[in-house]
Subunit: 207 residues, 2 copies
DNA sequence: ATACTAAACGGACTACGGTCCGGATGTTAT
DNA sequence: ATAACATCCGGACCGTAGTCCGTTTAGTAT
């Protein structure tokens, strides 16, 4: 089963190609991930700074950035298990999220799944999204986009599915979802219902 | 004609309430705005730093932040004329953007107007959007949201117009629009067309 | 004019993300 | 075992947004 990484750099020992990782590097990665989880437990994802992380893990700051590339890269790594699980569900899992259900049902389920994911991981998901530069070029983000585009096409939506997929993705942006829930008290059910309404109408008129 | 400021702080001598501004403060504001426009001409909006701005204007850094609150606040101030003009058009101007046209036509025109605005001001609009904290609570942003919500209701959309307006707003986010245009070569016409498609379908099925 | 006060000033300071490079370390070929 | 080499390490360093507080100054009352 092919999964697309949330992170653009080597995720460990797997993912073919290059030479294997040196043992000290692997050890430091584990130290860093453990320290990161500790810090997030104590201070929340927003309270994690790269300096604190380096100190806690007992490594230099350069090591942190060599491993993860950026703060967002670190957050993506911490989410990669959950991300892989979600990818597995919408690509190969049971309907309606996985293949087998009508495209519209899959689209609705995809949004609900993504909303649940974002609300579950909260600040972590938001921090992982804050790439600033290539926020839209992260492999996993590209995959979501292509999945939505594919479902739109499958549902018979022919007018610029690529761009419409981009617009629909915008709706699921973690920052916006969390803001709606935390500041305006919107319930997850309302979020899911609005997504359902949105995609139903976008796809529905395409028949 | 009531216009809602893009910036939450006193925009100058007008906007009643508090005591008038001291003359040195007013002079420094003008110095800063002139210096900011110069720097943006020379280095682009992304190349403007608060230190360079303070130095160029010949004032202390503290003064810059007392005036504008943040980098995003400065950018909003620089955009406030254009923003006021846009507000005037969609609230009081001629149809289809202004009142008089059917709600759906106004919605379509609003998106097209906003797309044009974002593409015209580019990095400046993006920088102004980067508040990070209360990005969604800026008065002008709230106004756009309420305008979309109002038009949705007027068009007969009854299922959670507030949240649907938020979803539709997400589509017009400067970062996304600029990314689509600059990285993926999407034309403004395609953006407008997708917006038209989106709101037509959302509103259309509501009858 | 003078004294007084509230506002504004300036720039040193902090916090943070991210970069750099000389030195240390693991891996591998001989 | 040794040498050679690629990789990794650490932490000093940088640029930037934003804060703080002792000092200065504009407006005002006398």
């Amino acid at each position: 089963m092919f999964l697309v990484s949330l992170i653009p750099i080597r995720p460990g020992s797997a993912s073919g190609g290059g030479p294997p990782e040196r043992r000290d590097a692997a050890r430091n990665r584990e130290l860093l991930l453990a320290a990161a989880r500790e810090l997030i437990d104590e201070c929340g994802a927003d309270g994690l700074t790269m300096d604190k992380l380096a100190e806690r893990a007992g490594v230099g700051k350069g090591t942190v950035f060599r491993r993860f590339g950026s703060r967002a890269g670190l957050m993506m790594t911490l989410l990669s298990d959950a991300e892989a699980e979600f990818q597995g569900r919408f690509m190969f899992g049971p309907p309606p999220l996985g293949p087998g259900a009508p495209p519209l049902d899959r689209l609705i389920a995809f949004g609900a799944g993504r909303i649940g994911y974002v609300l579950e991981y909260g600040d972590l998901a938001r921090a992982a999204d804050h790439s600033l530069y290539n926020r839209f070029e992260v492999p996993a983000v590209v995959l979501w986009h292509r999945h939505i585009e594919y479902l739109l096409r499958a549902a018979g939506f022919d007018a610029d599915p690529w761009l419409m997929a981009m617009s629909l993705s915008a709706t699921l942006d973690p920052e916006r979802l969390l803001h709606a829930v935390r500041v305006h008290g919107v319930s997850p059910e309302r979020l899911e219902e609005t997504w359902r309404e949105l995609v139903t109408r976008v796809v529905g008129s395409a028949e």
